[in-house]
């Protein structure tokens, strides 16, 4: 007991530095930004000061425009994630389980994934209109790939012995799915979901850039065309915050669902 005391001390000191580090980075970035502005290296319409951005943010927060665009984008993200992740999981499971599905689908999926989304997003807009649907579709398309890949990997890495065990116990297909496959792929699947969650913003914003009347992408495009650089900053930073929020939500979900991993590690 007595021996462990100094170790605990140094450890807690360590976590404090680790917790403060991101904050320090933020302060440094802000300071550098302020410095560039103060030196008047660039005109204000290229680089506004942190304070100008802050004031702009306060203004759009107060008049509600930020919330309206944020809501529109978030809504599209949620639907895009739901569709993309569901389809990705389903296809990933099929590919992992059925060799025929793998042979048939893999070239299509790889080609789909290798083509830049910005290039064919206009097509999606022609097909699905300029409203919510096309945003959701671009988001789903970009989001589904990491989920798919991680589902395939997850299903494939289930130890054959555990499958033997389930068979020896005469488990039904449904039982094997619920009690072996789903829990076994969960950690890898959640890793994929984290990637998907951050990509979701990109998907929606691409859609909004091309054609939309609402949402953060549309808002930033509008601000840029009016040379309202401070507003562009606000919009972009909102996107960052949105991506981080979605990532954190998945992280929280992971934290809840994978308690067993944490408890296994702590001993």
């Amino acid at each position: 007991m007595r021996v462990s005391f100094p170790i605990t001390m140094s450890r807690s000191a360590n976590t404090w530095t680790r917790r403060l580090a991101p904050l320090l980075t933020l302060v440094l970035v802000l300071a550098a930004w302020q410095l560039v502005f103060a030196l008047r290296l660039y005109p204000t319409f290229l680089i506004p000061s942190p304070q100008m951005v802050w004031e702009k943010a306060a203004q759009v927060l107060r008049d509600g425009t930020l919330w309206a665009h944020l809501l529109a984008t978030s809504e599209a993200m949620v639907w895009g994630l739901l569709w993309g992740v569901s389809i990705g999981t389903l296809l990933g499971y099929l590919i992992a389980k059925l060799p025929l599905a793998e042979v048939l689908l893999t070239p299509l999926i790889v080609a789909f994934q290798a083509t830049p989304i910005v290039a064919y997003a206009p097509l999606l807009i022609i097909w699905f209109g300029s409203g919510m649907t096309s945003k959701v579709v671009t988001c789903a398309v970009i989001v589904f790939f990491p989920t798919l890949m991680n589902t395939v990997v997850g299903v494939r890495q289930i130890p054959p012995r555990l499958r033997d065990l389930m068979r020896a116990l005469s488990a039904t297909r449904w039982q094997t799915l619920c009690k072996l496959e789903l829990p076994a792929i969960l950690p890898v699947w959640l890793t994929g979901l984290k990637t998907s969650a951050t990509l979701a913003v990109i998907g929606v914003v691409v859609g909004e850039f091309l054609s939309a009347d609402r949402g953060l992408g549309h808002w930033v495009k509008l601000a840029r065309s009016q040379y309202d650089t401070a507003l562009v900053f606000v919009g972009v930073l909102t996107m960052t915050a949105l991506a981080l929020t979605f990532y954190s939500l998945v992280y929280l979900l992971e934290w809840r669902l994978l308690k067993w991993q944490r408890q296994s590690r702590s001993v």
Binding site: P159, R161, L162, D164, L165, M166, R167, A168, L169, S170, A171, Q175, K179, L180, P183, A184, L186, W260, Q261, Q263, S264, R265, V267
Partner: protein, 248 residues
């Protein structure tokens, strides 16, 4: 449970060539007998156990469990593997209770069964632990508990102690024998360890390497319960020597 094999053989197809893994085998194992299947690795002994378990089909011949021909996994047959193959996301309790859960037993029934089982395995204190926290020996105990939870009348053990250190292995052998003395299931245990086979079994089935062919069927007439120091008895040596002679 009585186990009867009639001309059971297994042939694998590999790159077009046929590979005989297990030569036709006919053997009759009476209910309650502890049988060790002894042979060098690659002699098809694991294949044999998998066929009896209904996990893989025989190329020819038939398996009879209590006079009923069997080709599929059977609820009264429990299988244990070389590694514990526990589910990392389930506690020890839930791992052991898995067969009961799959069979649709209520929570109360599972709880009752495990309350009896956990002390026998020395795992009461670990019921809520996750497998990653267990030592190799304890993990294997949990695997044994899982197999016993389904109340099998035939136990198939595929090198159950192969992955453990010498001391743990010895202890687990004694534990298994003590459990078996009370329950008297039929046991088919695969091993490549001559001492383990002689020490534990009533009967040795010795197989030749590739293709696995039954070369000796030796009855072990040592008194039970078996004691660790029996291995130094002359009689023990006679059996071990006979088994070794048959293997090579």
């Amino acid at each position: 449970m009585r186990v009867r094999l009639e001309g059971v053989s297994v042939t694998y197809r590999q790159a077009g060539a046929k590979l005989l893994a297990l030569a036709p085998l006919t053997v009759d194992i009476p209910s309650g007998q502890f049988v060790a299947i002894l042979g060098a690795s690659g002699c098809g002994k694991s294949t044999l156990v998998r066929v009896v378990a209904g996990l893989q089909p025989a190329t020819s011949g038939s398996v009879w469990l209590d006079e009923v021909r069997n080709t599929r996994p059977h609820p009264a047959v429990g299988m244990m593997f070389q590694d514990a193959t526990l589910m990392g996301w389930r506690t020890v309790f839930d791992n052991i209770a898995l067969p009961l859960e799959l069979a649709g037993a209520s929570h109360a029934a599972r709880e009752a069964r495990l309350r009896a089982l956990l002390p026998m395995l020395g795992l009461e204190a670990w019921a809520n632990a996750y497998p990653a926290m267990l030592s190799g020996g304890m993990a294997q105990r949990a695997a044994l508990g899982r197999v016993l939870a389904q109340n099998p009348r035939l136990l198939l053990l595929d090198e159950p102690f192969g992955a453990l250190d010498a001391f743990t292995r010895e202890q687990l052998r004694l534990d298994l024998l003590a459990l078996w003395r009370d329950m008297r299931q039929t046991v088919l245990m695969v091993t490549h360890d001559i001492h383990e086979a002689v020490f534990m079994a009533d009967r040795l089935l010795v197989f030749s390497p590739r293709p696995g062919r039954l070369v000796a069927d030796i009855a072990i007439d040592l008194p039970r319960p078996r004691q660790l120091d029996m291995v130094y008895d002359a009689e023990f040596g006679v059996y071990a020597r006979a088994a070794r002679a048959a293997m090579v």
